[in-house]
C-alpha cells in the first residue's frame, strides 16, 4: 500500500501539486487521471522520488520515502518497477540485455538463470523471438511491453506506469491495459497508472483519482465515475460530443 499525505510541489514559484492525499491499495490497479498539464506525471514522479516534494509524506508500507536517506531510497527503489511513457529502454542494449540489466546489477544469479528469468518475463508480456533485437527495431507497443517486462523482472512490490497507452492504437492499448491488470492481480502488487485514456479507466481502473489543476478533485471506482456530479470530472470524462450523446441517452433511458 502507498499512502500520499498532504503533498505539495511547485516549480519556480508555480504550484503544481497542492495538498494531495490519497491511498493506493495493494493488489489493485490504481489510476491517476486528469487533463494534460494537470500534474499527474509530477505526482507520480514525486511518489517515486524523481522529483523532490516541497512538503508532505509518501509512505510505502509504513516507510516514509520522503524522509529517507539517498541509500535508503536506493534500497526501497529495488522494490519498485516503473514503465516510462516512451519505454526508456537502453538504446545500446538488446531486448534481452535490457530485461536482464537490473538482475546483472543486483543479483548473483548465474547467466543462464538470468536469461531464463528474462525469457519468462518476456513471455509474460507476450513477446517471443525478439530477444536479440534492439529498441530501435521495435514498434511502440513492443517497446512498452519490453518496458513492462523489465519493470517486473525483479518481482517488484510496487509498479508505476506513466501513460502506458500514449501513442498506441486502441487495440494495442487494450492489450497493454490487460497486461498491467493481469500482472497486478497475479503478483498482488500495488500498481499506479497515470493516464488520460478513458478506455483504460473503464477497462482496468479499480481505484481512480482525478487530478485537476494540481488538486485532487475526485476519487472513486470506475463505476462511480459515470454517476458522479463533479463538474470537472464530467467535463473530462464526457469531453467528446460522442460521449455526451451516450450520457444523455443513458440518462433518458434510466
Amino acid at each position: 500500500m502507498i499512502e500520499v499525505e498532504h503533498l505539495y510541489k511547485s516549480f519556480a514559484g508555480v504550484n503544481v501539486l497542492e495538498d494531495i492525499s490519497v491511498t493506493f491499495e495493494r493488489g489493485k490497479t490504481n489510476l491517476i487521471i486528469g487533463r494534460s498539464g494537470s500534474g499527474k506525471t509530477v505526482l507520480m514522479k514525486c511518489i517515486v522520488g524523481l522529483h523532490e516534494a516541497d512538503r508532505g509524506a509518501v509512505i510505502f508500507d509504513d516507510r516514509n520515502f520522503v524522509e529517507m536517506s539517498f541509500t535508503g531510497r536506493k534500497e526501497l527503489r529495488k522494490e519498485m518497477g516503473m514503465m516510462f511513457q516512451g519505454g526508456a529502454l537502453f538504446d545500446s542494449l538488446s531486448v534481452e540485455e535490457n530485461v536482464i540489466f537490473p538482475l546483472n546489477l543486483f543479483t548473483k544469479m548465474p547467466y543462464d538463470e538470468k536469461r531464463e528469468r528474462a525469457n519468462i518475463c518476456l513471455k509474460r508480456v507476450n513477446l517471443d523471438n525478439v530477444n536479440k533485437l534492439y529498441p530501435g527495431e521495435l514498434s511502440g507497443g513492443m517497446k512498452k511491453r519490453v518496458a513492462i517486462a523489465r519493470a517486473i523482472v525483479q518481482n517488484p512490490k510496487y509498479l508505476f506506469c506513466d501513460e502506458p497507452n500514449s501513442g498506441l492504437d486502441p487495440k494495442t492499448a487494450l492489450v497493454i491495459d490487460d497486461l498491467i491488470s493481469e500482472i497486478t492481480h497475479d503478483y498482488s502488487i500495488t500498481t499506479v497508472v497515470n493516464t488520460h485514456d478513458m478506455n483504460s479507466v473503464m477497462e482496468i481502473g479499480e481505484k481512480v483519482v482525478f487530478i485537476h489543476q494540481g488538486f485532487k478533485c475526485w476519487e472513486g471506482t470506475r463505476e462511480e465515475i459515470l454517476d458522479s456530479d463533479n463538474e470537472y470530472l464530467n467535463d473530462f470524462v464526457f469531453a467528446s460530443n460522442f460521449a455526451k450523446k451516450i450520457k444523455s441517452l443513458t440518462s433518458k433511458n434510466s
Partner: protein, 246 residues
C-alpha cells in the same frame, strides 16, 4: 551568482560520480567498453592531426629560422619540444574536447530527455556514477596513451616533411630530436593529459546530465560542454605549467 550555484551543483555531481559503485565488476566492464568507444576510436584522428601538425611545426620553424649562425639541428629540437610540451597534450586535449566531449554530452543528454537516466534511478542505481565514472576512468587511463602516440607520430611527421620537401637534411633533424632531451617533459605532458581527460569528461557529462527539454537543448548543452571544457583546459594549462616548469 549563477556561476557559483553551477559550481556547487558540479561539486555535488562529482561527489555522486565518485561514490561507491553498485557492482565493481560491471563498472570495470563498462570502463573497458568506454576505453574502446572514447579512446581506441580516437586513435585515427589523433594520428592524422599529429602527423600534419608535426610536419607544419617543422616546416614553419625551418622557414622562420633562416639564419646562417643558427645550427640546423635546432629545428629538430624546437619541433620536438613544441610537440612534447604543448601540441601532444594541450592541442590534442582541445581536439578531444571537441570529439569525445560532444559525444559524451549528447549521449548523456539524450539519455536524460528519453528518461533512460530516470529509469536507472528507478532501478536503485546511482545513475551519475554508473554512466560517468567509467567514462572518466577510461579517458584518464587511455588519453596518456593517445598523447604518447601523438608525440611519436608528430615527430615522425616532422621527419617526413624534411624528407618530402628537402627543407632540412634528415640527419640534422634526427640529431636535433635527440639533442638535449629532458625526460621530465614527457612526465609534464602526461600529467597535463590526465588533468585534461578529467576536465573533458566531467564537464561535458555534467552539461548532458542536467539538460532539460528536447533535441535542441541537447545540441546546445553539447556545444556548451565543449566550450567550457576547452576554456578550463587552457586555464589548467597555465596553472600546471607554472606549477611544474617554473
Amino acid at each position: 551568482m549563477k556561476n557559483i550555484s553551477a559550481f556547487g551543483k558540479y561539486i555535488i555531481f562529482i561527489t555522486r560520480v565518485f561514490s561507491k559503485p553498485e557492482k565493481t565488476k560491471i563498472y570495470l566492464q563498462q570502463t573497458i567498453r568506454e576505453i574502446e568507444s572514447l579512446g581506441i576510436n580516437s586513435i585515427g584522428i589523433v594520428i592524422i592531426i599529429s602527423i600534419f601538425i608535426g610536419a607544419v611545426i617543422t616546416l614553419q620553424t625551418r622557414y622562420n629560422l633562416e639564419s646562417s649562425w643558427i645550427p640546423l639541428y635546432l629545428i629538430g629540437l624546437t619541433a620536438r619540444d613544441t610537440i612534447l610540451l604543448e601540441f601532444s597534450s594541450t592541442m590534442v586535449g582541445l581536439i578531444l574536447a571537441g570529439k569525445v566531449g560532444s559525444n559524451i554530452a549528447s549521449e548523456i543528454g539524450h539519455m536524460r530527455i528519453t528518461e533512460q537516466i530516470d529509469a536507472l534511478e528507478m532501478m536503485g542505481i546511482n545513475s551519475a556514477s554508473y554512466l560517468i565514472l567509467p567514462k572518466i576512468l577510461a579517458t584518464m587511463v587511455f588519453n596518456p596513451i593517445l598523447t604518447i602516440i601523438s608525440m611519436v607520430v608528430g615527430i615522425f611527421g616532422g621527419w617526413m616533411a624534411c624528407i618530402v620537401t628537402g627543407a632540412l637534411a634528415s640527419s640534422d633533424y634526427i640529431y636535433g630530436i635527440q639533442y638535449w632531451f629532458i625526460p621530465f617533459y614527457i612526465t609534464y605532458a602526461l600529467v597535463k593529459t590526465v588533468v585534461y581527460a578529467f576536465i573533458i569528461t566531467s564537464v561535458t557529462s555534467f552539461h548532458g546530465y542536467y539538460v532539460q527539454g528536447g533535441a535542441l537543448e541537447v545540441g546546445r548543452c553539447s556545444t556548451r560542454g565543449v566550450v567550457y571544457s576547452s576554456i578550463l583546459i587552457l586555464l589548467a594549462d597555465v596553472v600546471l605549467t607554472q606549477l611544474m616548469l617554473a
